[in-house]
Symmetry: D2
Subunit: 278 residues, 4 copies
């Protein structure tokens, strides 16, 4: 697979050849490597994720054969937050709007909000929720390479991600154990299930057959169309002006990246999960 | 280093030899491996983290020589939450109380709450905050092995952890980019610094010299001293009664584990961060 | 598994605290790490291989369940060389003599030769041949992690090893392709076999079901009971005298190490060789 | 870097779509993967090494800055063997002839021999010797990832390689330790050196500053222009006729591959060999 980077406009970035954009990777790359590609196409650009999405496409095909299905959607933009859980939403609507939010009314509100942010030359963050159905019991390793630990690392490796939680996540910390524990039962097909799913489909680092679901927090992207205080490569005070490409909210574009990274992690664990008959 | 597991009482666990404790690793281990050590000392036990803490102790000595200092503390138990930031707290007080919370008044409240939970045979979760000072610019890799991605994986590999966020984390998603961006300036020693630190000391996956700080969410532990519905290894309905050891809140004990895992990650990156003079 | 290093006599080595033994790891460790354990029990000691043999024992049990059997023997000591191939030898005789050579007459000659070398305070090298039967078709990876490449690395990681060859090895380079190629046929059980086995059971990096066999060359060990020219840690001329423990020929002791490393490699590939039904 | 595979002639290979070429990877790939690319351009083709040579070119540039220099040459074709050591040869002559042998007279003899083999539709193997100068003291890891173990694995991962030896290699096994040991001395520049170099520049898995040298054995390539007995994918008897491209001796073409793999290994170790000042 080969993707030519044909849509670059290197001269758009000449104004930052010598200055560091706030909250970008400019300064850390400069200090660590002694050089950086300031022209928008370097390794710190989210363009790098195109390769992930391409590889994730293959992983998804591999997982489909095992009836594993991955769907992600935008569940929050700024402080606009879906209150319905994924079970209450119609996930077939995700791709029907530009925001990739399965609630059409909220999608419109989010769209208008993002548009307003764009007009102000600003940016905004949000949350992507991902749901994985059909995972068999047994994926994941018991100590360091727990299934959710690898999913977390994969998500945190995506540009602009600041947090990861699965199952009951940060909210679950306030619950008592008696309310949080997922009681087991045997369903009509003789399959062991849990009545609730605070575990998010993973117990002891290993999938238990229930849906896996998690949230990924994205910061507002650093590039804004406003003048900002900064320093140049000599440490002198400088102003970074707002030029170049500007995406006010990466959330909608990040949905396929989240799905791709989830697919890669699951495909890896599926391959590691050798059938036990030796 | 060798730690004998001398304080085991295997017979305390005979009642779960054939049943699955809700939200434990019992069921997933049984399905994946065909066997599990139900006696409390198996690989899914948090006893496994003793090895991490021991190794982390060496890593801390190594980091101290580089003036890197790691401190973690309990910032939330149930819904009891410290409202002060780590800068507003006196971190030298962490070890002065059993809860490992640097606010003595809140520590007492948390202690009493945990004690009440214990008396009810229940359990409760919480949040640990970790602060790392003195990290030089340049630790971390640019694509998959970003510094925060490895920290996140390390934390998520600890028993009972459900979430990880660094810097502005989940709350930061609501901010606008203009408020979230950390403006650069040069301090009186000629060092490039940021005015705010929403980035949590990491930009583009690489440390920028500011404090690294992050939160780790722990669920209420699954073992409670109450009868719970479950199934046995044959899938038949069963009741798991509350026996064995019971720790109503692991947060205080998990503080050294969080520090140890952070130390191991930083030591690894320090070793990878080859000086550039070839 | 735990092996206490109880039979150390550290004071035997005090004479080399400040000097470098020729052809030992003393000098390279000193330069690389700034310290070394000169007392005979450091990481460069072949005592380190005890852990390999212990782990290899587990790997062998795992492989036995798959009917994979590994046998190694001493095929050459100094220039005393077995002329029979492994097919012509009775490998059940390997453990009947101290040299671990399956030809009893040659074993006695080798034994006497080693004893003479010992009396002269000298040392001698040799070759170990290893045969692996019962390997299914399909172990090994196609590009970098070829089965023989991993076997070679494993053998070369053993102390004192200088060379590795499999199948026709170095001698095979003189053959013409028409003589070297292993013609395929189908045996009476319908299994595809080869008439000859110059390939040594591996084609394109992947096992083909025939016997795997290889040779491992061991140098004469560096420790001898003679005075030798050297330098001390200051670079000044020094004499290393012959003291401490002295094993004139490591070949017999290295047989289980070769088997253990082969078992570990095969166990790893067996675990990687996932059944293809997804 | 991108190399288009433009010179393929897939139809040359239609005759082996259903039969297995003796001593090729056809059979093992078929059994392991269920499919193979019989058209000459699959993963088992030595065309795959083009990527290695390209990457090795970058590694060589990196090593040149550290004054590390790698040179390989053909030292044996069939039983035609150079008797001079690398020190006695003029390595600047390697690229002056098609065989890549630094002895012009022997190169001509080898050339004629290969040409005769070609006319007979046969193939022949040989040995490549590689010399690495300028390696600093300290490259390599002490236990499993010894410098020569990684070099050995790298060489054994090249198509058609059957053996690897470094320093005194297989011949050294006949020496006594008193003759094999490399005595240390301090040279006029105050550098610790060895009088002989049976160690091949590596002691205890770590480079000692002397020249590294090793031999790599290549079998006669499997493709020959003669009819050969084989079986087809159904296990039925079949004849593989001699068609398609035919390279009677890969040794000259393999010289840059050996150099490239050596460069990649050394570049990796150089990056791992962190300066000790922390």
């Amino acid at each position: 697979m080969l993707i030519w980077n044909e849509d670059q406009r290197s001269k758009d970035y000449s104004h930052i050849a010598e200055t560091f954009r706030p909250s970008h990777a400019d300064y850390t790359y400069h200090e660590k490597y002694g050089n950086r590609d300031y022209r928008g196409g370097g390794r710190s650009s989210a363009r790098e994720t195109a390769a992930r999405v391409a590889a994730g496409g293959l992983a998804k095909l591999f997982l489909q054969k095992q009836s594993i299905n991955i769907q992600a959607y935008v569940s929050q933009v700024g402080s606009l937050k879906l209150t319905k859980t994924y079970q209450e939403l119609d996930l077939t609507l995700i791709e029907t709007n530009a925001v990739r939010c399965p609630d059409p009314a909220m999608a419109q509100i989010m769209f208008d909000y993002i548009d307003g942010v764009r007009k102000n030359g600003d940016s905004v963050g949000g949350i992507i929720t991902c749901v994985i159905k059909g995972v068999p019991v047994g994926l994941g390793e018991p100590v360091f390479d727990k299934l959710h630990a690898e999913l977390g690392k994969a998500m945190l490796s995506i540009n602009a991600v600041k947090g990861f939680e699965y199952g009951s996540g940060f909210e679950g910390v306030s619950l008592l154990g008696s309310a949080h524990n997922d009681a087991f039962y045997t369903d009509e097909n003789g399959i062991v299930r849990t009545k609730t799913n605070h575990s998010g489909g993973i117990q002891g680092g290993i999938s238990n057959g229930e849906d896996i679901y998690f949230n990924v927090a994205f910061k507002p992207v650093a590039t804004i169309m406003q003048d900002q205080d900064s320093v140049d490569v000599n440490g002198d005070k400088a102003t970074v002006s707002g030029k170049g490409r500007h995406d006010p909210c990466v959330l909608p574009r990040a949905v396929p990246i989240v799905e791709a990274m989830a697919a890669l992690v699951l495909a890896d664990f599926s391959l590691r999960n050798r059938l036990s008959k030796v």
